[in-house]
Point group: D2
Chain length 329, copies 4
């Protein structure tokens, strides 16, 4: 049984905490959060006591920590966990600054602790199944990847201002997905962006609508598009065009119900909320983390995956700002 | 908190037991099963102790029992629960004999205990959503209902011999669904059946392929078809043609992945196993049972629903045997 | 080049006339219709002269006639064509009376003229493709056929009164389709029907909503349902459940356009009008007729197919009226 | 009746010639082609005589010419038609050289002749329906357009060498579609391309796999991707993400038949050949040309549309070669 302490009992921490508590191979042994309400409700639901982060990090009986705190605390907590020899599952990103990420990854490396980054979409049953079929050769060689991600609605401008921008905050998931599907690193990126959804986002220096093209060293191409607002729900689709055919993974609908009436045929909407859309992905990624700790295998995606996605986001941000293609790394 | 004792820790009891254990409003407090392995594994997973059925029925601290034992024990256990004043959730059917069901329902009525019958499909998110839209008038007046149910493969002939026949064992779910969707009782049924999948099923006096038409007093029509074998998985579809349009609920696929290649476009198969296909339905029906006990509302579907579906199955069986339409009830 | 004279330049005659005129292997050489407008407009479009039916039947240079006149004239025209040795394409049905059909088929047989009946749906590209895949063994042995046909709206009651009833006027197409797909004749039919769409149809002694089950000698089962009104268009679907899988053919939509918005995902409606839905089928059936005449092969579906569908419709009508299953033939 | 002479009776000329011949508002009055076989077969099918291009251009009784000859002859023929005052329908492109196009357009302008360019996809029923719904405001303001075009297989390298490259030969259709959907001109393009399908295409200096991003002055974004080889057929899809929702138009399948078997659910492949896929589009564009001549309205898309798509292709070609974004126009 793996003993796991949770740092951060907000929206995503609540999900992870419950998933840990329900695992037959792990126990949630402590919860820390500066907001007492979140910590308490999760404590009641799981039986795990509320403690401070320092207590958790200092407790030698705790094998691993899950970091679901605000982004600017991630690297510090990883550093501390490295010092105390604990395995870490950290929500993306490690940091908004690539140099800072590198420094932390060196410490992780030196300490030899397992570090897994929460790119949950790799664990979505649909995307994971697509990737497995890609890996087994169904579609032949990958040539052209298309990733479409659209959120139901933009976050508050106050959040956007501290977010690092759309490419680091939202498209970073797609950059990781691009690496997951391309099977090699992109070497160059060109990005376009506009503030079409809300001019206030533009005033804050960010964009809400963006398209990116990437190229790998061997010439594979990937296009990604993002919008901060889709009236029809949480739109998350990928397709991979390969030498043997096209693999696609579409949206998940609320139900299979359709209605045919005077005004045409209508299907139930797609799942609208990322916690619902990716509920299974969250379960599976925690299970993968626990599995890595139990078996001693290196968890995946790891710190390097986190760093590389961040570097792609940095390059895309720079490309959008300069209007020029930017080399990655 | 509702205290529930489980009678029967087989395939379906394991599901129900775990769902009870995870409910915030109920506790699984005891497990009984003649097969020690099933009871023990569920006990380990949930912490509920293994006891005998008599101990469970006699324990005044237990509010309700869930009956997931073999069919021929259902009515007896309900009778005993009625005597001891416990609420009952009973897997369908109450009994294969309608007269026996009636007698038990009288005892339930006299004792005033809540009785819910496990017609799980009413709680499938897809079928439940369809029925809600029917109820809110989306499709207008119901005119023509089509229900298609096909199992991945037939059960062993030894099971079929004791099953009461396809209409009572398999199509009974569809009869309940017909009532759920028609909004009124069928008054007449005509049934055709053949043993096309396996001649041994025919030798055992049963059929493996069947079609039924039903009519209600007001003239609504329902057609049901069953096959014991679908190569492509567990096929469960309904459509309701009404005065304002057509509501349909289709199959649930493993994933949203499709592959387009030289040989056409292919989708992932439909979910193949009823415990997987109806996993959410099982959760929701247990939640509905607990909700009824907590709020004091009568649970639904109840014993009368169980009886009426059984009477439809009896009539269909007789129709198939005599080659004539049969009045119901 | 096959010379074809057209009897009847109404809605369906206009279609056939134009399709003949565009064939590279046939010429439309004469048009007859008591209504001068229809004949004239088709004559202008195709260049074929307007003549009387008797002139057409008497003209030895005309190889074949296409009969698209009112039903009660079909048998007489076939008889006359048999006398004058002309090939015949006749819109379904040959007659509403099976005895009359038999008499005409005897004359056709004796005269040795080719006779093709216009069951256009066999030539629909979708249904034809399904049947070809059935014939090549894709789905294994046929076990259970489901045919759903729903019209956008009912014809005038005045039409219904002379139509022979829903089973002979509308479901006859589905009876022919059942034979096309089952690969053997049905031996028994049970029919239910109601007037739910329009009570006036019930007062006229007919039904507007109906379901039928059929069984063949070897135990194959077919279910058919009809409604005279579908708010969402012309609904024409078939599925064949076989020992190796399920073949389905769905509706044809106006376009592939879908819209995802706040109220869900909606597709363009299905094609609403039978002349549009079956435009390709009409072309292909005329081509098959011409092909049969050019190659000397017997055209299909022939008079016996017409008779057998009529006998099924008769039996279904009787079943609906008596409330009992009826043997066919 | 509009009298039209056809220059070029190759693959596409045969289609246009037959469509003209079947129009009730136009006559095909002459056919010219250096290859006698093509001209003769079309002449036999339509009755139009074979003549030389000069005879056609000199004949004052001919109202319009349709140019379906090799690309390098287009501009000359348009110039000659302008001199003789004939309307012109010209297959895309007017020329591979934008300067040459400009010169010809000046002559067209001066002569005042109607000129329509054969961007057939605007007339595809699916894409046309999507654009109409865009124009009526269904999707709100356009923000993000995605166009995916993939050919079943690459043309011979000998063709590619003379084609002007993928962006001018293949993606030009998508550039026109982008303008059709964006409702304003793109001001900048960035293009990536690789030779992944066939290295010989790369040796010839071209690419077979490409992705482009475009931006308009108001910030709308469009992404286009092309591949010269799709194992699954002719893949032509568009989607428009707007402030009110997402409009999509998908591929056209051969039939609606699906098969569900042990290996999943498979649909019939998409239409594989552009002449089949766009058969309706070819009919509708000729009809639009004839309609413009009959009504005296300016035909659309016109020479300027042709020029602008060509300028986009030029800019994309330059972007791909220089690795930098390129301003358009």
């Amino acid at each position: 049984m793996i003993s796991i302490g949770l740092l951060g009992a907000g929206r995503i921490g609540q999900i992870h905490g419950r998933n840990i508590a329900q695992s037959p191979r792990a126990r949630l042994v402590a919860i820390a959060d500066p907001m007492p309400d979140g910590a308490r409700s999760l404590s009641e639901a799981t039986g795990a006591p509320v403690r401070t982060p320092d207590e958790i990090l200092a407790d030698p009986s705790i094998d691993a920590i899950l970091i679901g705190t605000p982004t600017d605390t991630h690297a510090d907590y990883i550093d501390k966990a490295a010092k105390s020899g604990k395995a870490v599952f950290c929500e993306k990103p490690v940091d908004l600054n690539s140099a800072r990420i590198r420094k932390t990854l060196e410490r992780v490396e030196k300490a030899g602790i397992p570090l897994m980054i929460g790119f949950n979409r790799r664990f979505d049953p649909n995307f994971a199944a697509l990737q497995r079929r890609l890996a087994d050769g169904t579609a032949g060689n990958v040539e052209l990847v298309t990733i479409l991600s659209r959120d139901p609605g933009p976050p508050p401008v106050s959040y956007i201002e501290r977010s690092g921008g759309l490419f680091r905050d939202m498209m970073i998931h797609d950059f990781d997905m691009a690496r997951f599907l391309l099977g090699e690193d992109a070497v160059e990126v060109f990005a376009l962006g506009s503030a079409l959804v809300d001019p206030a986002i533009g005033k804050a220096g960010d964009v809400d609508t963006a398209a990116v093209v990437l190229k790998t060293a061997s010439g594979k191409i990937c296009q990604i598009s993002n919008s901060r607002r889709a009236t029809y729900g949480y739109d998350q689709r990928i397709e991979v065009h390969g030498s043997k055919g096209l693999l696609s993974a579409g949206n998940v609908h609320e139900t299979t119900v359709t209605f045919a009436g005077e005004r045409g045929i209508s299907a139930d909407p797609v799942q609208n909320f990322f916690l619902e859309r990716y509920a299974a992905a969250y379960r599976h990624e925690i299970d993968a983390f626990i599995d890595a700790l139990v078996t001693g295998r290196k968890p995946k995606p790891d710190g390097v995956d986190g760093l590389k996605a961040q570097m792609m986001a940095d390059a895309a941000t720079k490309s959008r700002e300069t209007g020029k293609p930017v080399k990655i790394g």
